[in-house]
Symmetry: C2
Subunit: 218 residues, 2 copies
């Protein structure tokens, strides 16, 4: 298909598609004339993923390119490619503050991972941006004086473990390894607002049950 | 205490404190001379919350002011103040696209809430920014062709319900209603990166168990 049809079928304006092509987020089409290229269904799929990352997930262009590069790295096996691609997703702000609370937070997180028995995560933690994101989040809680002991974090870790099972169940619905990789990246990003909004709605529900209506019936 | 001591004890630079005072994120101190004011522990507490929202949660100043205003609204009961304050936290991007997928997403979310038996959330959903955030997220998944049926969302809702219980358990450790409100807002924001990073670490762990090492032992 030509650019105009790619735009129509994807719902992405041609100017945006050209921008993605220039930035290397979309592989070039097959050149048919000096000014026209031919695109295929792989381009359509890739556009879908780029939209999930850039428009919805607000992933910066450079990070999106890293994620997409990892997806195509044939030197890695399936699991490594999945881990590298999801790992290249941007994480929260890095700590710029004192190292003492970071060191303490690191110890807390390490005890947590050990108690959970997440051996793969323990032995690969230095490669995980998510590990640094967690250490930074725990150090921030500590500096601001909010609860962040191993026991406080444990329920969130158990929820994370259950969510990962749901995530992988969704991903395994896709048959080809390439589609699984694409789905892993997209669903990691796209389900974050689902999860955070459901947590807030559940908080309102739970708060109502605990504090609401001054227990009118009593 | 004077401004210099408030700065030293909070770790927030005096210029930043003055900015928060100008923006109404911090109530004015008690004027003692034409150029000096006196601050107390309530200011120190409030600064902690402002940092959690603005520096860590990256909440825009105007939204932070709405949250803080709701915390102090004496016309509301405890549960309503809590709901209004957490509800004033900014949510994800609003949908700017077609209404057909939004209407379908709304139906999906409504069926989900009904199945969960979250009656308070159902009857107050129009007041919840989190409800609109969820509808937008589901509509986006649908538009991009990713799974988002009620059954797909259910595990995330169950996780949200469990997380809300953990959240409220943390909040109930604080004795005064005012501290509970402050903690509800701060912990909602500060535990988001904890949850998201633990989900990603758990994904890596789960992915390793399902796909890793080509099941070397077989």
């Amino acid at each position: 298909m030509r650019l105009a049809e790619l735009s129509r079928r994807s719902g992405v304006p041609t100017a945006t598609i050209k921008y993605y092509l220039r930035e290397g987020l979309l592989p070039p089409g097959r050149r048919v004339t000096a000014t026209q290229s031919e695109y295929d269904d792989a381009h359509l799929e890739r556009l879908r993923l780029v939209r999930a990352l850039v428009q919805v997930g607000r992933v910066p262009i450079a990070s999106a390119r890293d994620v997409l590069t990892a997806l195509e790295d044939d030197s890695l096996d399936h699991n490594s490619r999945l881990g590298t691609a999801v790992g290249a997703l941007p994480h929260g702000p890095e700590s710029a503050e004192d190292d003492a609370s970071d060191a303490q937070a690191r110890r807390t997180v390490d005890v947590l991972l050990a108690r959970l028995g997440w051996q793969y995560a323990q032995s690969h933690k230095e490669e995980f941006p998510a590990y640094r994101m967690l250490v930074t989040a725990v150090a921030t809680l500590a500096r601001l004086g909010y609860p962040c002991a191993v026991e406080d974090l444990a329920p969130y870790a158990h929820a994370g473990g259950q969510l990962a099972e749901s995530d992988l169940d969704l991903i395994e619905r896709y048959e080809s390894p390439d589609r699984q990789l694409e789905a892993a990246v997209a669903l990691t990003v796209l389900y974050e607002p689902v999860l955070l909004s459901l947590r807030r709605i559940a908080q309102a529900e739970e708060s109502h049950h605990r504090f609401g209506e001054q227990r009118a019936g009593e």
